[in-house]
Amino acid sequence: MKRDIILAGVGGQGLLAVAAVLGEAVRSLGLRLKQAEVHGMAQRGGAVQSHVRFSDRPIYSDLVREGTADLVLALEPMEALRYIAYLRPDGVLVSDTRPVRNIPDYPDLARILAELAAISPHRLVDAALLAEKAGSAQATNLVVLGAASPFLELPEAALVGGIRAVFAGKPDAVLAANLRGFELGAEWSRAVA
């Protein structure tokens, strides 16, 4: 068993939290993990990405090779498109559809979404809608993780455990909204299939 995943988003969206949840879930299952993160300057609203790899066998590289990712999981559509060269031909694309327009020359959104929709299989989720339903506008990152969960080859219980571990120090309401956001994303994704 082996999964290679590219996480992508904009600094401040909670991408590292998604990476941390995956890491905790993988560790709880006794699998091996490598997870390359972006720290520093780019976290100020710039493009951020993370390579997450897990397997029951040794993992050598911290970086995923182009053309080999099983999944691109993005919290923003233009950031999803930035990394499609990493996907293997039958790899899955999961992305939030809402743009973060913090640059003056943000490209045509319709074109971005059309290019993403041409990738099969894909899940393009309006995460803000589900996050609001879950009780926290900030939970979009967990909604997208939920939407990607059918493709992770990790038991849902392990992912829920990962969320509990990562948000352990936070108020109960925050943890509850994140768990709910994850579940709504997962339900939506299964319903689309």
């Binding site: 993160e37 590289s61 182009e66 031909p89």
Partner: protein, 536 residues
Amino acid sequence: MATQLLLGNEALAQGAIDAGLSAAYAYPGTPSTEITEHILRSAEARSGEIRCRWAVNEKTALEAALGASYAGLRAMASMKHVGLNVAADPFVNAAIAGAHGGLLVNVADDPSMHSSQNEQDSRLYADLALVPCLEPSDQQEAYAVPAYAFELSERHRVPVLIRLTTRLAHSRATVEVGARNPSNRLSVPEDPERFILLPAIARRSYERLVARQPDFVRDSEESPFNHLSQHGDRSLGIVACGIAHNYLLEVTDGAPSHPILKVGQYPLPERMVRWLVEHCDRILVLEDGYPFVEAKLSGLPPRSAPAIHGRLSGDVPRTGELTPDLVAAALGRGALDRRAASSVPAPRPPALCPGCPHADTCKALHEALASQTSARVFSDIGCYTLAALPPLAIIDTCVEMGASITMAHGASEAGLRPAVALIGDSTFAHSGMTGLLDCVNAGAQITVIIVDNLTVAMTGGQRSAAENRLASICRGLGVEDAHIRVIEPHPRNHAKNVAVLDEEIRHPGPSVIIAQRECIQTARRAARRAPSGGPR
């Protein structure tokens, strides 16, 4: 043995803690910051068993670590690659004076300049200072290296450099960790005169250091971090340094078909290198950073075979971070079947946070300088450097930490005025204060704006060394009281602030404006933490 999920930086830190570390000093800088943050979070640092502090800069950090080593303790200083430029004087001279308790200098290099202004390779500094250098290839080795390096340092009485690159520093993996070993007891060197580098003594010490070089090479031959595999097809031999070894295993599915020299300790293990060169038709050198090993192997023409391939030969790009795809290409394996990259995404550079106090300072400065077309703004390094990008686009230079005040000084004396220096509170403490003293002594016509957000924001909000003492420091350096002004950068104060800036820019001597408002990120964090109380 327990397993933990650790960044390369954290694995190194935990390895040092478990190896009996007593003192850790550092100045933050991406990609090195998490080494010290991990130690600060440890039970040993919180109980005071390990002394761990953010220093004013890398030079003071390394010197404090050297002092702790002098006292017999296992000590280390951590920094990013350019930080070693600042600490180069203590580094090179500590190599001559030597260590007593084990002394590690941990340096994180940043190939591809993800968060830096250059991609210099710290292995060249170890070479310059004639000290051993360790370069772990993965997180587990990063954990193992400090115990080994402390022992090496104490046995040879030299500081040891540990080099990481961004990818390992910031990649997390499951690491098996052990228990903490006891720390050293306080003791003074039995030969204390070697720490007095008067020429007569320094010459002897330097001779001793040079005489030890063959021992360092022998250690490299026997190092657990170097390994020569003689198996396989000898039409090619591969040298894989540090993380490059993982990339090599990745693209060959763990079973390379050629002889491989894995390098994790320098100076180079000469016998192993010689075997490879003598038995293989061609050599490919894979290294993240400069073509350091490749250059050593290449020598000057005329030179006998085999041909050496790497970054200098063009088989790997001369600049930028090494990746498994580049390793595959250098091995002549074509790219994998993949989708073409899309041309649609636009670059998304980092930007100041909405509501950042630096933006308000820069807007006021923009207006104050609107009619002064010859004005130049010499900036420094920190979040405020992002004011180089539109829409603010107000700074003209950013070269290295501290260069704002000093470059403004020189430009002003050359006749380029108004000369404005823009510098953060942490950078001012790091290397701005000395330059300001130059300006005071010269009576230079410059305006220094210290953008005081009460933290080291760029690297994640560490405590700033001169917190709430900036005005008194400037006064102490000799800036006239009337020309030390404090403003609060906020939209509601815009007109007032423009007026203050305008007045001080007209002043014919050195003036300082302290623009003080807390970074909104650290303020938010403090507010969130407030209920449980406790100072930041």
